[in-house]
Each structure stands twice: as structure tokens, then as C-alpha cells.
């Protein structure tokens, strides 16, 4: 009897295990449809193109492929692979007509009329119409959707009534966008917005087909079946938080002749060593690498340093910390930073030292020149000069009547910020006598919360541009802006920004540009921020691949014109 029971027990244990295990390679069908099979893809793409899949590494899973809900760079990149907006980005980041064939702007700059092309089709065969844009834009401002990028329409795009709808004061049908007929879309703005066209390639402004959306209900944009494409590629393998995503060339795309790739195959790899090995083994065509790996590959011709747009800077809390309220102390601190040492000796990923409040290479002015190309324009207040720094420092200490200052600096618990902070501490403590810097390392979410609540002394933070205009940076230092962490306030500055955002200067690009320079001058003279560097991402790109377009704003990578040699 006892033996029987024991046998039973062992059998039970074994069957429990076996039942849960299901080891074996036979039941492939059960696994999530992940049709990244190259053969299949190239067969599909065989129509006139003999391209291959481009295999791309991404660091994090896509958060959402719903254009009005997605809010991170990776999601935007994937959404833009299969969706076109009114305008798209060209290789230089300029807005060029896409679904809109042409457009007109009224003389007062308040009304935009877009004429849509008739051959733009959704992947279910229906035409992309002006009504699809109206529906998409209304979704973006609908408080029920709580779109995190709704401010692209209100604060930044200044679309009529957007702000009121977001605040729940008006109905979404009152949004200043109208479908005059199937191919004519009219947009009304509160004030002229000089960069309005460049917002049109931002996914928040992409169209959504209402009929299709309603047929999906809650499941919209959660699978290839509940997603419609009107862009260069069609999604054919995706599930929420997927680690691999596959897209194939869209044969019905109006510009399909120009698309060379058979498809795109995304692979999420969170471990940087695995990513580089996969790349070296040929399993990837492009991958991000981290600063430590740069030394291994820096002589490789396939190594690239791509501007990521982010500017890292220090924000002193000028309201609550008496020492930092002193201008001489702030000037001394910013001049005691050796930014070149930070980028060349510590980061080594191609990041560039930055000495301006608006980083270079993302905003071009009316004459086409880069707003911050001249990095020496503030060399009297922001440069590396230890002698001058000490001079300001001593003056500051005297004004404060102290001989020693101890400051806490908050920073993210990530790799790069910690390294940068260590160097800053060393540079400051060496150059400025009597300064002690304590590093307070926190998870990013905590650090942001602390800074937003003013619970910090000096903070290491970053900002990425949302649109190609200096205002995306300068708008931050307005009194009471939630990103004005240091609580700096200057009435003249606020007046300039107001004038450039909603005032008369909106219709005068040259005048506005000159005023923006003035605003930047104030921020720098007052040492409200200590710019550090503009971040670059270190990437590997196979020499077989050409035509990938990189942008620091909105869509970080565009593959429409990419070519992969056999």
C-alpha cells in the first residue's frame, strides 16, 4: 500500500512538471505569431524590389502604436514606419508634403489649408481623407484619451480651442480643424506659429480612420489586425510590449516605387553586450552601443555617432538656495566646468560640449542657419576659465560672507549621469576653494519629482527638443513653467517669450529670431542653467546599409529611403 502511494506521489510530481514544461520544439504554432522569417518577407517584397529586411535593434519595447497615445521615441519611430502625416521629414529634417500634396497659408498666418492627395490609401483599401485627420486630432485633445502629447496641439501648435477642449471646457467637435471635403483640410490657429508645418510629421498629428477605429473598439492599435497603415510599410507582426516587431513594404503606398527595403525587423535587446555580439554576428544591421563599448569599435568604419538632440544641463535652485541665488557663485560654477574633458574623456560617445542654452543642430532660422552654430557667443559667461571662475567665486563668497559652501546635487541612477557627476565634483572641488559637493543619486522618477517640487539644490537633468524651434528650450525658463526647476523669474524674459509665442512677432520670422537670441542672452548672462553637452548616441550601422535618415527631433530614424545591398 505504501509503495503504491509513493509511486502515485512521484508520478504526480512528474506529471505536474511535465504538464507545466511542455518542452520540445514541435509546437511552434502555439508561440506568438512572430513572422520575421526572412524568406517570407523577401517573397512578399519581391514586387519590383529585390530588397532585404533591415534588422534594427531597439533598446526598449514600443509603448504604443496608437499615434495619439504613443509618447516615446521608439514608439514614434515605429508608428511613422507605417503611417504618414500631412507632411513628413526629409533627410535634412525639413517638412515636405506627404499625404498633403500642397498647402496654403493665409496672409495673417492663422489659417492653413491642406490639399490631400487622392492616391493615398489605408491598407484596407479606403482612401485617406481629411475626415481621418479631424478624427485623429480630436482624439489627441479628447480628455477621455488623456493623451500625454496633447500639448502638441494646444501649447505648441496653438490649434484653435485645443487648450479649452483639453481642460474640459469645450467639446472636441469645436477643435479648429475642418474637413471641407474629402481632400481639403482647413486648420485654424490662435496665433501664427512659424514652425506649424514641421509639427505635421509628429505622430500626434497623424490621421486615424474613424470607421476602422470604431470597428476595433478597445483593441485599436494592439495588433496588426487592429492597425491600419498608409505609409511606406505595413505592420505584420506585433503584440503589446513585443520583443520583436516586423513590418513589410506596403505595395499600395503612393510612393512605393521609392521604397527599397522588403521590410523592417525590430528586435528589442536590453543587454548591450548581447546587442553588440548580435550585430557582429550579422544578426542585426544596426544597433546602439554604450559608452564602454565605444573603445572596442571606435576605429570601425561602421561606428557612427548620431546626434540625439538631448541637451544635458545643470539647474541650480536659485529661489531656495541662498548660495545659488548669488550670481557670482553661479558664474564661477559654470566657468569651472571643463566640458571637453567630460565629452572626450568620460562619455566618449561623440557627445559635444555645449555652451549655449539652446543646443546646436536642430533649429534652423529663416535664413537657414543653425540657431546655435556659434558655440563661443557666450564665451564671456560660459566657457572653461579657471582663473575667472576663482575670481567670481571669491567675489561671491565675500558677498555671502562665508568661506565654505556645501551643495547637494541630485542626479539619475543611470550610468552616464553618474560618471558625469563624479567628474563635475572633482572639477569643482579642485578649482573652487571651499566647495564641497555631495552627490545624491536617485531613480529618475524620484529625481524628476524632487526637482519639480523644488526639493533640491542643484540638479543634473536633460531636455530633448519637441519641435524644430529654439522655443522648445527657451520656453522652459518662463516664470512658473513646470520645467523651470530652479524657479528663476525674470519679467523681461517672460515678455520676450510671450511676444515670440503669441504676440506680434509671430508673423515676423527675422524679428522673432533676433528676439530669441536676446532671450537666450538673458538666460546665459544670469547663469540660470549650466549647459554641459549635447548627447550623441553611439551606433553601429552595417556598411551594406545606406539612406537611413537620423533626426534629433520627432522621428529619430526614418527608413523610407534606406537601401540594403545584397
Amino acid at each position: 500500500m505504501k509503495r503504491k502511494k509513493m509511486t502515485l506521489a512521484i508520478l504526480l510530481a512528474c506529471s505536474m512538471m511535465a504538464g507545466l514544461v511542455g518542452c520540445g520544439g514541435s509546437d511552434t504554432a502555439e508561440a506568438p505569431a512572430d513572422a520575421s522569417g526572412t524568406e517570407e518577407a523577401s517573397a512578399e517584397g519581391a514586387e519590383g524590389v529585390s530588397g532585404e529586411d533591415l534588422k534594427v535593434m531597439i533598446e526598449t519595447p514600443v509603448e504604443s502604436i496608437d499615434p495619439q497615445i504613443g509618447q516615446d521615441g521608439t514608439s514614434f519611430e515605429v508608428i511613422a514606419d507605417f503611417t504618414d502625416g500631412l507632411m513628413q521629414m526629409d533627410a535634412d529634417g525639413q517638412a515636405v508634403p506627404a499625404i498633403a500634396e500642397s498647402y496654403e497659408v493665409s496672409d495673417d498666418g492663422l489659417t492653413y489649408t491642406f490639399h490631400l492627395r487622392e492616391d493615398a490609401k489605408w491598407s484596407n483599401g479606403t482612401q485617406v481623407t481629411a475626415a481621418d485627420f479631424v478624427f485623429g486630432w480630436q482624439r489627441a485633445v479628447d480628455p477621455n484619451n488623456a493623451s500625454e502629447y496633447s500639448y502638441m496641439l494646444s501649447d505648441i501648435g496653438q490649434v484653435k480651442n485645443a487648450a479649452e477642449i483639453i481642460a474640459g471646457e469645450k467639446d472636441k467637435s469645436e477643435l479648429g480643424v475642418t474637413a471641407v471635403d474629402d481632400t481639403t483640410l482647413q486648420v485654424e490657429l490662435n496665433v501664427p506659429v512659424s514652425y506649424f508645418l514641421s509639427l505635421m510629421y509628429f505622430p500626434t498629428y497623424y490621421p486615424v480612420n474613424e470607421e476602422f477605429y470604431n470597428s476595433c473598439g478597445d483593441t485599436f492599435a494592439t495588433s496588426p489586425e487592429t492597425t491600419l497603415a498608409n505609409g511606406a510599410f505595413v505592420l505584420d507582426s506585433y503584440e503589446p510590449a513585443a520583443t520583436s516587431i516586423h513590418l513589410s513594404k506596403n505595395p499600395d503606398y503612393y510612393d512605393a516605387d521609392k521604397v527599397q527595403l522588403a521590410g523592417l525587423s525590430y528586435q528589442v535587446i536590453q543587454d548591450s553586450q548581447q546587442a553588440l555580439m548580435s550585430y557582429q554576428a550579422g544578426d542585426l544591421d544596426t544597433t546602439l552601443i554604450n559608452g564602454e563599448q565605444v573603445d572596442q569599435v571606435k576605429d570601425d568604419p561602421e561606428f557612427l555617432s548620431i546626434g540625439a538632440g538631448y541637451m544635458w544641463y545643470l539647474s541650480p535652485n536659485v529661489r531656495d538656495v541662498p548660495e545659488l541665488a548669488n550670481l557670482n557663485i553661479r558664474k564661477a560654477m559654470t566657468m569651472a566646468i571643463d566640458r571637453e574633458a567630460i565629452t572626450n574623456d568620460v562619455l566618449k560617445d561623440g557627445s559635444t560640449p555645449t555652451y549655449t542654452a539652446v543646443p546646436p543642430q536642430f533649429a534652423a532660422g529663416p535664413d537657414g542657419s543653425d540657431f546655435s552654430e556659434d558655440q563661443t557667443k557666450f564665451s564671456d559667461v560660459c566657457t572653461y576659465d579657471t582663473a575667472k571662475a576663482v575670481e567670481y567665486w571669491e567675489k561671491g563668497l565675500e558677498e555671502l560672507g562665508v568661506s565654505e559652501i556645501t551643495l547637494d546635487m541630485v542626479l539619475d541612477a543611470d550610468d552616464a549621469p553618474q560618471k558625469v557627476a563624479q567628474v563635475l565634483k572633482e572639477q569643482w572641488e579642485t578649482t573652487l576653494p571651499g566647495l564641497t559637493l555631495n552627490l545624491v543619486v536617485e531613480p529618475k522618477k524620484q529625481r524628476l519629482q524632487d526637482m519639480q517640487e523644488g526639493n533640491f539644490q542643484i540638479g543634473l537633468t536633460r531636455w530633448g527638443p519637441d519641435y524644430a524651434d529654439p522655443m522648445t528650450y527657451l520656453g522652459m525658463w518662463v516664470t512658473d513653467n513646470s520645467n523651470n526647476y530652479g524657479f528663476w523669474s525674470n519679467a523681461d524674459y517672460d515678455a520676450i517669450i510671450a511676444e515670440c509665442t503669441t504676440g506680434d512677432l509671430c508673423t515676423d520670422p527675422e524679428g522673432r529670431w533676433a528676439k530669441l537670441y536676446e532671450a537666450e542672452q538673458i538666460v546665459m548672462d544670469e547663469a540660470v542653467i549650466f549647459p554641459l553637452y549635447t548627447q550623441c548616441n553611439a551606433e553601429m550601422l552595417s556598411s551594406k546599409v545606406t539612406g537611413v535618415e537620423y533626426h534629433p527631433v520627432a522621428l529619430n530614424r526614418v527608413y523610407k529611403n534606406a537601401v540594403k545591398a545584397e
Partner: protein, 311 residues
């Protein structure tokens, strides 16, 4: 027996509720919020909090959560995959973690048993020392070190197996993660088998069996190993849950779309619902297995059941 079982089930359910409450409180003590992006302004944050009911007091949220959960709704993801129902997220991922973990248990248990047997039978020889060294390494070296090493040699250098998990080559790409995960199980089982076997081999009934003329494999497997197995099953049970609920780091290394990597990402982005749901499911599995083991004991060994009755 029935009373004993019912009592155990009751305790388990109560424990689960307590775990849920603790999880809920811990989540809300976590620094930051799910919507703490530098791009968000206060108005938008308010809208988001309202939409997801996070503006309500924590006790209200808890009661609502438990109510929804009883109806099979574990909420939606805030960050990892915006607005996707948690169950949908877990549904497609749990089988993958269970598969990899299950393979690891199987490999680990079989290899561990063999290793332990070898060490016990060749007690105090070079084989014994070798087995001991292997188990010490297996227990002390973290699985992600094995993962990276295996991936480098067998994936990158020799190209025998893919470095990353892929549904297309399910079997081949499961090998490296399963093997790296199995090392700890193998080592633990080997150590237990060795000591249990040594104890059993030295017992009187083994002497009796031997004197009856039983010898060779029959002696080892039918008489010695079977008796040594009971404690081993006890150790194996929690290991099974550990492995099946996904390895946090190994899944990340091999890009396995399992629940382990989901949990890591969820914690990093304060995705409350995902963290609570996953931790809860882990706890439920753990408690479930422990319950099964407890009841199994009663069946396997009447002495345990009788002892409980006598309480």
C-alpha cells in the same frame, strides 16, 4: 484529512489577500508616479490621474482593485504598453516563461540527480570532489553570468545556438537560457541527492536489502533513490515556481518575451498594475505549489497527517 486540507486552503487565501494589500501599499510608497515624465505639465498629470483613478485615496483604490480582480479585471498598463489590459499582456508571456523555466527544471533536476548519485556512490573519490566543485560553482555563480558566458561561446563563437530568443527557432533558442537557468537547480539537487543518498545507503534497511541478495541498479534505484527522493521533492517545489515565473535577468539578456522581463520594465517605469498583478500571480503560484506539497506529504507519509490530527 479533509479538515486539514480545508484549513490549509483557507490560510492560503488569507495570505494572498494580505500579500495583495502589502503590494498595494508598497507600490504607492514607491518614489515617483507612472506619469512623471519631464514633458508632462500639471494639467495633463491631473487628467491622467483622473482617467486611471489614481486621484482617489489608496484605501478606495484598493477596494476597487479587489472588486475588479474578482471580476477578472486586473486593470491596464500605464507605461509598458499603454492601455493594454494586464491579463492580455501576461497571457501571451506566461507560457514562454513557463516553457523556458520548465525546461530548466527538467534539465536541472535530471542532471542534479545524476551528479548527486555519482557523488554518493563514489563517495570520497575524485568523482565526489568533482561533483562537489560543480555544485558549489552552480550555487554561487549567478545565472546571468552563465547566460553571458554561454551566449558568448555557444552563440557568438561557435554559432551553435542563437544568441537571442526567437519564436521561429523556438527549440534552439530556448537551449541557452534554459541551461543557464538550470545551473542553480542542478547544483542544489545534486547536493541534496548526495547527502540524502549517503544517509539512506548507510541505513539498516539497505543492509537488509543487500543481505537479501538485492544488488546493482535495483538496489540503488528501487531501494535507495526512492527513499531519498521525498526530501528532494520538497526542495524542488519552490525551485519550480522560481524558474517558471521567469528569471528577471536571464530573460532580459536573451530578449525573451516572458513575464520576468515584463516585471523588470514595469518596476522601472512605475507601472503599478503590471507590478501588482505579476507579483500577485507569483505569490499565488508559490502558495499554490506549497499547498499541493503540503497535501502531498499527507498522502505520501501518513505520519504527517496523523501528527496533524493529534494536534
Amino acid at each position: 484529512m479533509k479538515k486539514y486540507t480545508l484549513k490549509r486552503i483557507g490560510t492560503s487565501l488569507f495570505t494572498l489577500l494580505a500579500i495583495l494589500l502589502v503590494l498595494f501599499i508598497l507600490m504607492h510608497l514607491m518614489p515617483g508616479s507612472p506619469f512623471n515624465d519631464e514633458k508632462l505639465n500639471d494639467d495633463q498629470r491631473t487628467v491622467l490621474y483622473e482617467k486611471y483613478g489614481l486621484d482617489q485615496p489608496v484605501p478606495v483604490q484598493f477596494v476597487k482593485y479587489v472588486g475588479n480582480m474578482l471580476r477578472g479585471d486586473m486593470g491596464v498598463s500605464y507605461n509598458i504598453s499603454k492601455n493594454t489590459p494586464i491579463l492580455q499582456l501576461i497571457e501571451s508571456r506566461l507560457p514562454i516563461s513557463i516553457r523556458i523555466g520548465g525546461c530548466a527544471v527538467l534539465i536541472g533536476a535530471v542532471a542534479g540527480l545524476l551528479l548527486g548519485l555519482l557523488a554518493a556512490l563514489k563517495h570520497d573519490t575524485i568523482w565526489d570532489s568533482l561533483a562537489t566543485v560543480i555544485s558549489v560553482i552552480g550555487v554561487s555563480v549567478p545565472s546571468y553570468v552563465f547566460a553571458l558566458a554561454l551566449s558568448y561561446y555557444f552563440g557568438f563563437k561557435l554559432r551553435w545556438f542563437p544568441m537571442l530568443f526567437s519564436a521561429d527557432t523556438l527549440f534552439k533558442s530556448s537551449v541557452l537560457p534554459s541551461v543557464s537557468l538550470s545551473m542553480f537547480t542542478m547544483a542544489s539537487i545534486a547536493r541534496f541527492t548526495r547527502s540524502e543518498m549517503l544517509e539512506v545507503l548507510g541505513s539498516d534497511y539497505m543492509l537488509l536489502a543487500e543481505s537479501k541478495g538485492v544488488s546493482g541498479p535495483a538496489l540503488i534505484f528501487r531501494h535507495a533513490l526512492r527513499n531519498a527522493l521525498i526530501p528532494i521533492i520538497t526542495v524542488l517545489a519552490p525551485l519550480i515556481v522560481d524558474l517558471m515565473t521567469g528569471s528577471l535577468v536571464v530573460e532580459k539578456i536573451f530578449s525573451i518575451p516572458g513575464v520576468g522581463s515584463l516585471l523588470v520594465n514595469a518596476i522601472q517605469s512605475n507601472d503599478y498594475n503590471v507590478v501588482i498583478a505579476l507579483s500577485f500571480i507569483y505569490s499565488a503560484m508559490y502558495i499554490g505549489i506549497m499547498l499541493v506539497v503540503d497535501i502531498l506529504y499527507g498522502i505520501i507519509d501518513p505520519r504527517i497527517r496523523l501528527a496533524k490530527k493529534g494536534d
